[in-house]
């Protein structure tokens, strides 16, 4: 837009209203202190090895499927699986993973993109993913490329204890480590909001050290409580899903991408008697009211966008809402375009505050194309003005030569 401004800068004095408009747009395109929610990421971690921990992998894969169904694309999901249950020799169903004994849904179907697998799932790699401190050789697909407008879902499952989570049966992630990583992420503008969801024993203790604003955490059990598995698949011979994850999935199975269920409805859906533990959520670091935050803000990829094109201005709010949803489906493609829309929207809001300016430029700022058209109209006027000015200068020239002679 600046490039448009520069050639025309000669005519500032003549084009005062246009100038005002431009400056307002330029102001809004610089980074705003509270960035808009622009994209969604998910980091899904299964930390435990061994056949008898089948359910942890099933938990993670179920969550993977859910967030993918709700619109987070594969390139924005970092999936870490500490073991390969599908190809374990003890698996009665080779290359398949189930989270229910009815075996209706194979979680390990065609489109599963595992980013960190087996012994790659370490505390070090996990912290590197969160903080973005990778070695240069690490491909982009294995990095968490989030920015200050990102909502991140961090889901972890495995065996935990008081303020730690076991990785790979050999190391552990402590609550300090997690809190430190989150703090670094905040400092590096790697997220706008972060939802940490943990399904382990004594999961609540893992959040004790968190300090960074914008972090919401939910764990499957309080200190001193165990998180239990939901049911045993006597065909495969192992427990296939944990209770907390099972009821989380049950909640999401009822939802589709257009639903407006809030986080508070998710949190209140956990029944301690069914869970056999007390789900705990920590929201003191989180500013927004949970009733107003749709779950799709984290588990899907649905943005809070307000589309107000001039052509659609007369449309009702509901219809424009649907338009937003459609936009979000192919948001990765139209990402840049939509960002532009958002900025224009911001400009619009400012115009709403200055009604007199708006009156002068009726409809001009609704859409860039109209703005440009307007500009070009103005530019034609300038040409004629220039011509008139030149014509008016002829008598001046004549008079001046006459005075000199």
């Amino acid at each position: 837009m600046e490039t448009f401004i520069n050639p025309k800068s000669l005519f500032h004095l003549l084009l005062l209203p246009c100038l005002l408009l431009y400056s307002s747009i330029a102001y809004n395109s610089s980074p705003v202190e509270a960035a808009m929610h622009t994209n969604n990421w998910a980091v899904l971690v299964c930390t435990s090895r061994f056949w008898f921990n089948y359910r942890h992998m099933a938990n993670t894969l179920s969550l993977y499927r859910t967030v993918k169904r709700l619109g987070i694309p594969d390139e924005r999901i970092i999936l870490m699986l500490a073991d390969d249950m599908a190809c374990n020799t003890r698996n009665k169903y080779p290359a398949q993973v189930f989270n229910n004994e009815n075996h209706r849904l194979n979680l390990y179907g065609d489109n599963v993109e595992v980013d960190y697998r087996g012994y790659e799932v370490t505390v070090e790699n996990f912290l590197r993913v969160l903080t973005g401190r990778h070695e240069t050789a690490v491909p982009r697909s294995k990095r968490l490329l989030s920015d200050e407008g990102s909502h991140i879902l961090l889901y972890m499952t495995g065996h935990g204890g008081d303020e730690f989570l076991k990785f790979q049966d050999s190391e552990e992630l402590q609550s300090h480590d997690l809190a430190d990583a989150v703090k670094q992420m905040k400092e590096k503008h790697r997220f706008k909001e972060l939802l940490i969801m943990v399904d382990t024993c004594q999961a609540a203790t893992l959040f004790n050290q968190l300090q960074s604003p914008g972090v919401l955490a939910i764990g499957s059990s309080m200190k001193g409580e165990n998180s239990y598995s939901h049911h045993l698949d006597s065909d495969v011979g192992v427990s296939v899903v944990d209770r907390f994850t099972y009821y989380t999935l049950a909640f999401f199975e009822r939802l589709n991408i257009y639903d407006n269920a809030s986080l508070s409805s998710l949190f209140s859906s956990y029944n301690p008697s069914l869970l056999m533990s007390t789900a705990y959520y920590r929201k003191d670091l989180y500013k927004r009211r949970l009733e107003e935050v749709p779950v799709t803000n984290f588990f899907g990829s649905v943005m809070e966008t307000i589309h107000t094109d001039a052509a659609y201005k007369a449309l009702s709010r509901r219809n424009s809402g649907r338009f937003e949803d459609e936009m979000s489906l192919d948001q990765s493609v139209h990402h840049i375009k939509r960002r532009m829309l958002i900025k224009v929207n911001d400009g619009d809001e400012i115009h709403d505050i200055n009604p007199e300016l708006l009156q002068g430029e009726e409809g001009a700022s609704k859409c860039p194309w109209s703005t440009f058209r307007n500009k070009f109209q103005k530019a034609e006027n300038v040409d004629s003005l220039l011509n008139y000015g030149l014509v008016a200068m002829i008598p001046l020239l004549v008079i001046s030569t006459w005075l000199v002679q």
């Binding site: 061994f50 056949w51 008898f52 020799t89 003890r90 009665k92 045993l232 065909d235 011979g237 427990s239």
Partner: protein, 687 residues
């Protein structure tokens, strides 16, 4: 802190003060009489409390997950097993003299399932005594040369490779089978194993290879399994050490024939192996049915009181009780079940526990009296078989290679008609399948649960941390009494002789005993006793002449001898408790009271008080009981009735200890007998 305090105290007082630990030691030594009474009583009491203190077993290894998978063994597999049973019990198959026909049938059945099959020829080996080879495998290099081509056994081995496994680990299923005179039970055990085997060829979840060993038990079950294991664990790479059995032409011909007659390409003449063994199950079915319900007996004791990991027993127990509805037995000393004094002891403990519970509700340690009696009987048998050091079944051969193994013996309740046979095939097969699937889930060797334990019931155990207390209490007074005796005796003299001779005398007698093994047990035993006494007296007169010392010191000489005896008993028991706890515990029960009470009879007779008279009687009784043959007769008489006791039995018993490499043999020869001789010499001391 304590030291500095000590220092400051010593600074204040000019008199040098000894450290508290030394003072405590001196105090204990000076009150050694009281200490020894208290400790010994507590030790015996603690031993009788063990059934009360037993904990419930639990599955310690997460990976096992027994019973989490539903059994897949169906009636189809059972009917397959039934077919094999029919073929084996068919009189035609028994026509051959060597029983080779039934081996052929089994091999053909295995091949039909797609398993790899091979035969293993072996010669029964005489056991050789290897002192100090308690926990190691027999050395393969020392195979005897005098094979005869007429006596050999054939093990049939079938191997299923895990379809997606890495072939590094294996689970072994053993069914002893005597082709010449097989009972119906043996055929049935083969049927159960076959039905499981046929299932396992179809499943996709195997992570470990399955080896089914049909052990030819005509030379004993243990010998066949041990021979196969020796071959399995010590591969022969050079042609120099080709097995001697190959030299017998007729044996080779038989195998050539077989190789051609059997259709499958998976049959091989060479020895086949799979990976390291994770666990082994020996399956037997008992012919006689004296039980009122289907029971399954678990035998776990291997050589020298080694036990398989408790988790293996737990898995079998859990699956048998909670999945297949079988009653699980472990060995009991049956005569103890009817003893009234145990029952009253149990009632006393029960009422004590009730009182304790009424005082403080959280104290819950009481068990019902009947349960106590059963627990004690099981514990006693557990102690006895561990102390014996002789394996209770073919599983003992596996333990020598550090493989966890148990023998399962199924005793069906009803006569084995068709329906009941199918039922026992199904339930037995499902039990074996469950155990195999559970072990299949294992990621490492069994290591989580206990290796040192005593069972008081199939689901209760006493761990090493608990039972060592009883033993420690029993032997704790020994060093104190020895020290106090030494201090007392040393105040007047420092002449101590007369003990060095006896151990050498005993080793002499042992050698005599070995030399005369070919005679009948009773004469052997008598000759051994006579020779021992003779050599003992000779050596005593030569080396330990009482005239060597001055007359004045003789009065205290017995005290010095007693002190030395007690210290050597202490050292011997301490060492033995590391090698085989049960032997040490039983030995301590016999020897500690005798050593502590020993006192010259003359002194007691001279004193003439009631106290000395009691001591005299005790000494005489203990002196008899602690003599190993006497103790053996007494125990055997108490358990089986005195009518059956025979003098030769002891000889046989010791011979079996020798044959099985038992450390108990060494213990009796090197600790118990010498100390008994010393004690007797104290009793008859002339002073």
């Amino acid at each position: 802190m304590a030291e500095t305090k000590e220092k400051s105290l010593s600074d204040e007082k000019p008199k040098p003060r000894v450290r508290p630990i030394v003072r405590l030691g001196i105090f204990l030594i000076s009150h050694s009489f009281l200490v020894s009474i208290v400790c010994c009583t507590a030790g015996v009491l603690a031993l009788f409390l063990l059934p009360v203190l037993a904990k419930n077993t639990y599955i310690s290894e997460n990976a096992l997950m027994p019973g989490s998978a539903s059994p897949m063994l169906s009636n189809q597999h059972v009917s397959d097993g039934n077919r094999l049973v029919k073929d084996l019990t068919n009189p035609n198959s028994k026509s051959s003299e060597t029983g080779i026909e039934s081996h052929k049938i089994i091999a053909q059945y295995m091949l039909d399932l797609g398993a790899e099959v091979s035969f293993h020829k072996f010669h029964p080996q005489m056991n050789q005594f290897h002192p100090l080879h308690f926990f190691s495998s027999p050395v393969s290099g020392k195979i005897q040369e005098n094979y005869s081509c007429s006596s050999y056994g054939i093990n049939t081995v079938g191997i299923i490779r895990a379809p997606r496994g890495d072939g590094k680990e294996a689970i072994v299923l053993v069914t002893p089978y005597n082709a010449l005179k097989s009972g119906f039970g043996e055929a049935l055990s083969l049927g159960i194993a076959y039905s499981v085997f046929s299932l396992l060829t179809q499943v996709t979840w195997l992570a470990k290879d399955i080896i089914w060993l049909v052990a030819d038990s005509q030379y004993g079950e243990y010998a066949a399994v041990a021979a196969w294991l020796r071959e399995y664990q010590t591969p022969k790479f050079s042609s120099l050490s080709t097995p001697n059995a190959e030299m017998c032409p007729d044996v080779n011909n038989l195998f050539e024939l077989k190789g051609h007659s059997i259709s499958g390409s998976k049959f091989s003449n060479s020895f086949r192996r799979a990976g390291t063994m994770a666990a082994a199950l020996v399956l037997k079915v008992r012919d006689q049915n004296e039980q009122f319900e289907d029971t399954i007996s678990i035998y776990a004791e291997a050589s020298n009181g080694q036990m398989p990991n408790l988790d293996l027993i737990n898995v079998v127990n859990y699956l048998a009780v909670h999945r297949q509805g079988l009653r699980v037995n472990v060995e009991k000393l049956w005569p103890l079940l009817n003893s009234s004094w145990l029952k009253s002891l149990g009632e006393i403990f029960e009422s004590l526990a009730k009182v304790a519970k009424s005082l403080y509700p959280k104290w819950k340690f009481g068990i019902p009296a009947t349960e106590y009696v059963e627990g004690t009987a099981t514990l006693a048998s557990s102690l006895y078989y561990q102390a014996l050091g002789v394996p209770t079944g073919p599983h003992g051969a596996f333990r020598d290679y550090q493989v966890d193994a148990i023998t399962l013996e199924i005793s069906p309740k009803f006569s084995l008609d068709k329906v009941w046979r199918n039922d026992i095939l199904l339930r037995g097969g499902r039990l074996i399948e469950g155990v195999i699937r559970s072990v299949n889930n294992l990621l490492e060797k069994f290591h989580q649960s206990f290796f040192l334990y005593l069972l008081t019931s199939p689901s209760k155990f006493v761990s090493v941390g608990v039972y060592m207390i009883a033993f420690a209490l029993l032997i704790a007074p020994l060093p104190m009494v020895a020290a106090s005796l030494y201090v007392d005796a040393n105040s007047s003299s420092n002449c101590s002789k007369g003990d060095s001779s006896t151990p050498s005398a005993i080793t002499d007698t042992d050698e005599h005993g070995i030399a005369i093994r070919s005679w009948s047990p009773t004469t052997s035993f008598m000759i051994w006793v006579l020779l021992s006494i003779l050599s003992l007296l000779t050596l005593n007169s030569v080396l330990a002449s009482p005239l060597a010392c001055a007359k004045a010191t003789q009065e205290k000489e017995w005290a010095l001898v007693k002190s030395v005896t007690i210290s050597s008993v202490f050292i011997g028991l301490g060492l033995m408790s590391v090698i085989n706890f049960a032997t040490a515990e039983i030995g301590a029960l016999l020897m500690v009271p005798m050593c502590l009470l020993a006192r010259p009879l003359k002194l007691d007779v001279r004193a003439g008080t009631l106290r000395s008279f009691c001591r005299l009687i005790c000494n005489l009784v203990l002196g008899h009981i602690a003599f190993p043959p006497a103790a053996f007769f007494l125990l055997k008489g108490m358990l089986d009735g005195f009518g059956n006791a025979n003098v030769g039995d002891f000889w046989m018993w010791v011979e079996s200890l020798w044959a099985w490499n038992s450390a108990t043999y060494l213990f009796i020869g090197m600790v118990q007998l010498p100390c008994w001789v010393l004690c007797v010499s104290i009793l008859f001391h002339t002073c």
